[in-house]
Symmetry: C2
Subunit: 247 residues, 2 copies
DNA sequence: CGTTGGGTTGAAGCTTTTCAAGAAGTGTGG
DNA sequence: CCACACTTCTTGAAAAGCTTCAACCCAACG
């Protein structure tokens, strides 16, 4: 459980998330300001990046890998409240103390900004503030979508919804767009899935088996998923089929 | 189901939500700009303000009353994804089509801004944009808190959580702060509560009765709630007792 | 004074959880 | 290179919690 060495990225210009992250709208000059206050950190799968209640001296963008935000009750029940993919933003300007526990779900690289100077940039450069507003509104929409999943969907629909979300993101990143079938690796353990879905890990396992038995997905090993028919998966998720799957 | 007459507010200076809403940070000059693009609308309890998928020509602040955002699946299952109280903001700058159905849960007054000019203000006046970012971040926190409720709490804890949230807001607004006991009116029907909590209305009713039987709350009629001991209610909600109840 | 909308309560049924055992894959040291 | 431990995942059986279906209450209102 120790931090692994920083990766070989330095220049914002070459950054894989340059055009989707909080810096997306920055011009050359603003980017130079960000370069001054940024540094990279890497984490290995399973590592906790920050505990709820910790002092937080930075905010950050996910560069590669997957991280999760979780909340835990005293008796140990935990709920994932955010799944952070490349370009997603972590931390809240103006807040010193972390509200959620942040965990690296896979190996992870983050681009961190020292908090104080970043907060100043929020005030002084409208491009950063505006992009952050846009991203926060997107996250709020995602959270609300997830509230429907948590509150009203069956276990089977929940699993299908999660797989659909991950498949969709993967399709966007790797541009398999043309085909109706997809292959991807689950970046989550069964336990992480259960924490996301408000289920037990046994129920997750059972429903995964059921979807496999019914031919909705094919499992190659425990982590690799093949979706032969995306429309079918969307149907199982209870969404109106294809609801803008590549938008 | 028709719109009732607009109320007798005109001046931002006298507005009850002047210091909490999206306009909170505006100076006199900015306020004058807002006055130009604003108009009031009133709705009666139960009225739908906007359907998911409708074209949306305004954004708005709740001035008084309670509204809700809901999502509905094709088969009719519905989940409330937002409870909008006075000063809360409705609508998304940059979005033409409503994502959620907005309903007046009680009689309601809204301060509406024409969307296009409001979007221009977002770009041109940092005070509005900054306040909107802050409010959106708060809403995101609230949504995540609610994800824990939906995903991991029992029916009894869900009810207690909802009552605690409403009690807390009421305490802030009406400044009963000193006392540990509280009285308030539920602004929600049993059905609205069930939509919020991801339960059936029968379960809501049963758990309300159970909390009453156990002395956690006293019901005066169907809507008026007395909470003799706020700490007790927080315990029932499964939160660490009093987690900053008046912050 | 009957109708209507909101609320309560009961009984049966179904989904998900809980508890428990075991299988499959991964890594370590002898 | 195999044995052993360890983690992750799967599956079964029983139990719990919530939903479903149904009946009924009550206050408001035309």
């Amino acid at each position: 459980m120790q931090e692994v060495a920083a990766p070989n990225i330095k220049e914002c210009a070459n950054c894989p998330i340059r055009h989707r992250a909080v810096c997306a709208r920055c011009d050359t000059e603003e980017l130079a300001l960000l370069e001054d206050i940024k540094y990279y950190r890497s984490f290995s799968a399973g590592q906790t990046i920050m505990w709820s209640g910790d002092r937080m001296d930075f905010v950050a963008s996910v560069v590669s890998g997957v991280a999760s935000l979780t909340q835990t009750m005293e008796d140990g029940r935990t709920q994932m409240v955010g799944l952070l993919l490349p370009s997603d933003f972590v931390g809240r300007p103006g807040r010193e103390i972390a509200t959620y526990t942040v965990t690296a779900t896979s190996d992870l690289v983050m681009c961190c900004f020292r908090r104080k100077p970043f907060e100043q940039m929020i005030s002084s450069t409208p491009h950063v503030a505006h992009r952050l507003l846009e991203m926060t509104l997107d996250e709020l929409d995602a959270a609300r979508e997830w509230m429907l999943v948590l509150g009203r969907k069956t276990a089977r629909e929940k699993i299908a919804s999660l797989l659909a979300i991950i498949a969709r993101r993967d399709a966007i990143l790797s541009k398999h767009a043309a085909s109706n079938s997809l292959v991807f690796d689950l970046p989550l353990t069964r336990e992480a899935m259960s924490d996301y879905l408000g289920l037990t890990l046994e129920t997750v396992s059972r429903q995964m088996s059921a979807l496999k038995k019914d031919g909705v997905v094919v499992l190659e090993g425990k982590r690799r998923i093949v979706v032969p028919n995306m429309d079918r998966l969307m149907e199982e998720a209870g969404d109106d089929s294809d609801g803008g799957f590549l938008s």
